[in-house]
């Protein structure tokens, strides 16, 4: 029908844009990852798997693993913090629901760099927090927060928490309240009911949240840059440096490709659940 053709034509501009500005560049990165550099640091395309060999050099493998480790820790923490908050807002938010969820997303729109830097100011060895700790005599010496693994993970959590909360909030909010009551009605203690009813019913949201946090966290470099120490280098920093510091794009491209390859597993996971979700809303 004519409407069909109309709709199909609407697919073109956006689709084309994404193809040219997203799909093609990814291809270029892949190509570049097999290239080498000339004396001026310009990329020469070719067929040199050395970049990948270099990436798996014992020197860099720890960096890759560290990134994944940080990201997983971040997901775990975000879930631990995000679920209760999302749950509370969705269930007991009442007419403040919208207000509260707005407050959740708001900080997320304050420049990440500035926020992170504020943490630096607060958590410094002689910063506000440690000042309070020592003055209140909680500990006679301050705590070393910054330039540690925890600092980097904390930064990541702080940066991506909203990605965890929103999908979980949506899931809990979408869930029929009567299900919880049914659980209690059928002799489920609050914990039982959560474990056997609420959790399974909202699991899709958790999954989505986990992926939405994990993906950007693995690739992040700001947190490590601003909060990290000498031993907190992440793959993001490595890539960033190859492109913007050391003019070694092919190596950077190789790292990027590896990252993308590794993440694609998770993406498929997410896309599958997303597809399912959209099917359900469609029905």
């Amino acid at each position: 029908m004519s409407e069909q053709r109309f709709a199909t034509t609407l697919l073109i501009p956006g689709g084309l844009w994404l193809l040219l500005c997203f799909a093609v560049p990814l291809g270029l990165v892949l190509a570049a990852s097999f290239g080498s550099t000339d004396d001026l640091g310009n990329t020469i395309y070719g067929w040199h798997p050395d970049n990948y060999r270099q990436a798996f050099d014992p020197l860099f493998v720890p960096v890759l693993l560290r990134s994944v480790g940080y990201a997983l820790a971040t997901v775990a923490l975000c879930l631990l913090i995000g679920y209760p908050v999302a749950y509370y807002i969705a269930r007991y938010g009442g007419r403040w629901k919208h207000m509260l969820i707005a407050l959740v997303v708001l900080p997320f729109f304050v420049n990440y760099l500035v926020r992170t830097y504020a943490w630096v100011a607060m958590l410094a060895d002689e910063g506000l927090v440690n000042g309070a700790i020592t003055n209140l005599g909680i500990r006679d010496s301050g705590i070393k927060f910054l330039n540690t693994d925890f600092a980097v993970i904390g930064g990541l959590v702080y940066g991506y928490l909203a990605f965890m909360i929103l999908p979980i909030y949506a899931a809990i909010d979408r869930m029929d309240q009567a299900l919880v009551e049914a659980g209690k009605d059928l002799y489920g203690t609050p914990w039982n009911t959560f474990r056997h009813v609420t959790w399974p019913a909202t699991f899709q949201g958790v999954l989505a949240g986990a992926v939405l946090v994990f993906l950007p966290a693995v690739g992040d470099f700001i947190s490590a840059q601003l909060l990290g120490g000498p031993g907190t280098y992440m793959v993001g920093n490595l890539i960033q440096q190859q492109f913007l510091g050391a003019d070694n794009w092919p190596f950077g491209a190789a790292l990027t490709t590896l990252l993308m390859a590794f993440l694609s597993v998770w993406m498929v996971l997410y896309l599958r659940s997303a597809a399912r979700a959209s099917r359900e809303t469609a029905l």
Binding site: L40, G41, A124, N147, P230, G245
Partner: protein, 343 residues
């Protein structure tokens, strides 16, 4: 890297300019890198307006020039000045037109970056050394070795800058600051890697790191110490040392683009800045020494009479300046640096 694009002809860099007002001054500099009061004074004194704009990095300054913007006075640093000169983008400065030129330290009458000082006049000077907090740690040895003190483990920062770090290691090894010998770079790299366990981190924000107590010892710049001292209650505890193995020294310059519309006013302004009184006032404002005889006192004053922070002619003489690495050499340093950071 920035190429020699957008060059002009040798010819127009040699046109003759009289040191007299030929219009308002179009001024292009870092922000907060010159005392606004002096601008006002200059305007009053010569009855001209100063049209200011700022750049945030050398490369963005280059970009503006390349894209054809016309300025009367600019402030390239020692590593970018040669590029501009090579590209014939700087006007030859006729020193005879500058009343105060003799105040400029003799050393800068023939600096490495501008033989014969034909195109530039020195502006701010800076050096890299070691900053430390005497309240937290003492017994510094005036050597780069102080950055390796095990009793300050976890309280030491290195500058997050590949040239400064590898340069430091080179100097400590007694190599040339900008060596491109793969073996020497290999050793320097190893030195930095071995240093990591002692470090709190890599950062270029030496001022905050010192203030907020994260750092006891910081690889840093002399000018920052001055700023640092202005922000703390106990200025005297924050010290700076110029290491005996030698230190990297840099300088900014004042120059007139070849396409300047009001080179005359520009000459007047440069001369104005070389006046010891004005220089002193400026030093007091932006916290870096200037290579102007008569301004030393001013710096000594803000440096709380700490000779360590000041930069003398000698420092500049036996100091070393970073070469402008290109091609394979840069790649060599980059790879070393990448491995240091990743290790």
């Amino acid at each position: 890297g920035v190429g020699n694009s957008g060059g002009g002809s040798k010819k127009e860099t040699e046109k003759v300019v009289k040191a007299k007002v030929d219009g308002d001054l179009v001024y292009f500099n870092w922000s907060e890198y010159l005392d606004p009061a002096l601008i006002k004074k200059f305007e009053k004194q010569y009855g001209v307006k100063v049209r200011q704009s700022n750049f945030d990095s050398m490369s963005s300054m280059m970009a503006k020039l390349r894209s054809g913007n016309r300025y009367d006075v600019i402030f390239p640093d020692q590593s970018f000045a040669p590029k501009l000169i090579a590209a014939n983008q700087l006007l030859k400065i006729d020193k005879s037109k500058l009343k105060n030129y003799d105040n400029v330290w003799k050393f800068f009458h023939d600096p490495a970056y501008d033989p014969g000082a034909e195109h530039t006049v020195p502006y701010g000077l800076y050096a890299t050394g070691v900053i430390w907090n005497e309240d937290k740690i003492s017994g510094m040895k005036g050597s780069w070795a102080d950055l390796f003190r095990t009793d300050a483990k976890g309280k030491i920062y290195m500058l997050d800058d590949f040239q400064e770090c590898l340069g430091m290691a080179n100097l400590r090894h007694g190599f040339d600051l900008s060596t491109v010998d793969p073996d020497e770079i290999e050793q320097s790299k190893q030195m930095l890697i071995d240093q990591k366990p002692l470090l709190r981190g890599y950062s270029t924000d030496d001022i905050q790191n010192m203030i907020n107590g994260n750092a006891w010892i910081h690889h840093g710049w002399n000018g920052d110490v001055v700023n640092l001292r202005n922000q703390v209650k106990n200025p005297e505890s924050y010290r700076f040392e110029k290491c005996k193995e030698g230190i990297p020294v840099g300088s900014d310059t004042m120059a007139i683009p070849a396409n300047a519309e009001h080179p005359g006013t520009a000459l007047l302004f440069i001369d104005f800045m070389l006046d010891p009184e004005n220089a002193s006032q400026n030093v007091a404002y932006f916290g870096y020494p200037m290579a102007v005889t008569g301004a030393e006192a001013a710096f000594a004053k803000i440096a709380k009479d700490d000779p360590a922070v000041a930069i003398t002619v000698d420092d500049v003489k036996n100091g070393q300046q970073f070469a402008n690495l290109t091609g394979k050499d840069k790649a060599l340093w980059d790879r070393a640096w990448t491995e240091v950071k990743a290790a």
